[in-house]
Each structure stands twice: as C-alpha cells, then as structure tokens.
Amino acid sequence: MAYVATRGGEKAIEQAERLFRQDLGTIDAARVETIQQTMPYLIDRVMGEASLYSEELAALALAQTGGELSEAVLVLRAWRTTQPRIAIARPVQQDEILTQRRISAAFKDIPGGQILGPTLDYSHRVLATDVLEGKPYAPPAVESAAKPAPATQPSLADWQREQGLLAPTGEAKVAPEDIPDLTREPLLFPASRAHRLQSLARAETGGVLALGYSAMRGYGNAHPTVNELRLGEAEVVVRHPRGTEFSAGRVRVSQAEVTSKEKGGFLDLGFAATFGWNEVKVIAAATLDLNSAEAPVGSPVHEEFYLYHTESVEASGFCIHFKLPHYVTFQSTLDAMRDAKAKKSAAEQKGAVERQTEPAE
C-alpha cells in the first residue's frame, strides 16, 4: 500500500471551499430565520435524519450547506457530539401526543375519529406561477370549528387489542437509561427492536422510501395498509432537581402503524416514528418493520439490508469517498489489466509460433 502526495493541493482545496461558500453568499441570522419560518417540513426532515431536534440549528445547517441535505445532516450530527447529554426524558406515549393529524386507511370508525389535519392529500398539485408574476399567494383562512379537537387521541392499537385483533403484549420494563442506544453502541444483528426503531427514526428519508416502496410493489412479504398515521407534538418531560416532572417544551413527531394480513390469529403490525412531520418516511419505515420477520437474508426488507443502507451519514460518506484520490488502488487495477493483456499477447504469439512450427499434414 502506498499513498500519493499531491503538490499544490492545499491552495486548490482552500479555493474550492471558498468557491462553494462564495456561491452561497453571506449567511446571516435573517437568512437562517427565513429558512426556519418558511421550510418547516424540510427542517423536520433534516432534524429527523440528524437525530437532533433544533429548528434553529437545522435551518443554519441548511443555510451553510446551500440545502445539500447530506452535508446538512452531517454537520448537525457532528455538532451534536459537542454537547453533553443532560437527561433522558420520560418515554413519549402515543395517547399523550398533542395530535393534529390522525387517519386510518384500515378502519373508518376509529375511536376518537379521523382528523385530516394539515395535508395536501386531497389537493390539486398546481404550481402557483402567479407568484412569479407579482401576485403573492395568500392562503385562505381555515374556518375553525366551534369546539377544539381533543388534545390527545386514544391509542388505536390498544383498542384493537381489546377487540382481540392484535396479539397481547407485555409492559415496557426497561429503564430509560438502559434503553439500547445506537449513538453509544454499535448496531449488531439480529438487531434489538429498540435499535431497529431508533435506526429507522434517524434513517435517510429517500433511502427508506426506496426500500419501503420496493416492498410495497411486491419485493417484500407483506403489502401495507395504514392502520394509523399520526402527526403531533410530544412533550419533552424532564425532571426538576426537586423531583418534579415537567415539560421543557414540545417537539413535532410522526408515527405510523401499518398492517397487512392475519398471522397466528392476529393482525400483523409494523411501526415507525421520527422527529418532525415526515409521513412518507414513517409509512415506508413501518412497512420495512412489518416485512422484517420473514425477510430472506439479502433482500431489501431484511433488517441488515435496510438499516445499513439507509444510514444517511455512512451511506453518503461512503458514496462520496469514491471521488477522492484512489490513484494507487486504481494503478494496481491498471497494472493487473496491463499484465493480463501482456500475458495474453505473449500467449497468443507463442501459440502462433507453435502453430507455424507444426508439421504440415
């Protein structure tokens, strides 16, 4: 193994970074604030993949990377490592979430009812080109209901268990400080359920969508139906030094349960959740979870396949490293190729000579 030193590289590298940053112009607080205020779903996606909830820092990361999502997630994950972990919050439970969107494609009459919430599901997707002609788009106001929706909605899965539709399950018994944590320990297979769901929560949206979609199209074992999709805000419940639990604020979260067919007398269920409102990601991720149990090794729905390949920083890092100097590696490939050609040529010449020396029949 040998390395190639490139003379003059330092200056070129510095100028290359300058060129990248020059193209983005001056980044100030106003730009960051504009991104934060106007791009909430993009902010949510970045926070989810970075596994760090801070709308302000996510907006800053987007500003300084020009919206290059892999770089934005990377810089946030790197910054995260500079901060101490102060506490572990009380686990968020589904029926405690301030629910603003909750739908089921499997059951039309779910306890608590169906609330569409903010969505474009039933909208025409038309580009508002009038805005470019100087006519700002001001959205029409929502005609509020007389009474507010309930702050929380019951767990559909609990109701289904009561109806005998889902397999009974035990109580959660792991103390928060003992919950397996991918940021402190490696991902090993078969993965614990806690590792699988944490990994999916921070997975790259496009990767999860691609692999989940492959399962939906038939490359998996189970076709999903959304049992429940829920978007809402969860309280970050921490403990005061005097022992009192209190909420330090709220964070936006998404959850999805998908179901398929009966298995062992019960409906099979897959689950996923993430920071922010990102329903494509959680539906696709829950589909992967649903398909995992019977997945053949090496298939897109096998957990080792989808967890490794949707880890955004590792995947993008491995991909982009291929553009870095590989001269020695590639030189050995060239040497091998030339050697093979030389040997083949020599063999052909030798064969030709031998054929010429064969006696005529």
């Binding site: 919430g117 928060p176 969860a234």
Partner: protein, 147 residues
Amino acid sequence: MFNETPSGGPDQGAMLGILARARPERLKALAETLLESMGEIAVLTNRTGLVMVPMRDTVENVDFHLGEVLVSEAHITDAAGHIGYGMVTGRDLERAMAMAVVDLRIATRGEEPVTKDFLSEERAHLVAEDEKRMRQVEATRVEMETF
C-alpha cells in the same frame, strides 16, 4: 421505567411547564425585576445540552430512542441553599436562567402577586393558542362512509 422519585406534585409540574413555554421576552423581563430583591445568587450550571427522548412502540411496547433535543439549562442557588432550575427546548441560555430565577423566587417566597399574575397570564395565553390551533384542526375532522 421512568424514575419515580418524590416530586413537588402536579401543581409544581404545571407551573414549571408554563414557565418553560412562557413568552421569552415576558419571562426575561419578570426575572430581571425579581432579581433586584433576591440577594446573592450563585450559578451552578448554565449551559446547552441534549435530552434524549424515548418513545414507546405500539406493537411490542418497546421503548426506543427517537433522538436528542437541544435544550438550555440553568441551575442556581441562593445564600440559604435554595435552588432554582430552568430547562427549555432550544438554544437560549437567558431564557433558561430567567426560568430558574422565577422558580427560585417561588420556592423561597411562594406565589406572590407578581408571579401569580404572570403564571395566570401565560397559562391563559398558552391555553388560548392551543385552543385556536385545535379548533382549526377540528375543522378537518372527516366522516368516512363506504358505498
């Protein structure tokens, strides 16, 4: 499970929750006013950090880590050893410190008119904000029928 140590009760929890979500400028202004009559205060901690948020899976009731939330924390004490504590989501050390000051004030003197009024006003503001939003959300309730 979450460590169930003795607490200051639901009222204190609600009070701290209101302080954590109170309008930042009003909270900071209140803390500035209160500080003038609170004597020497020592700052034990004033930092940003992370709180890991677990979530409970509905399929197998397994708790898993959703991710970490950036928070600001302040921990202060007065000469008598009383403590004040503040933690808020986001990066705002002044806001966390202001929460700790109000918490310390209430811990040492109980609810005075100035803090009682503040908590009442902020609680009303937060309730109104939630109600406004959830009335809009309720407008999206849909009744599904099959044909």
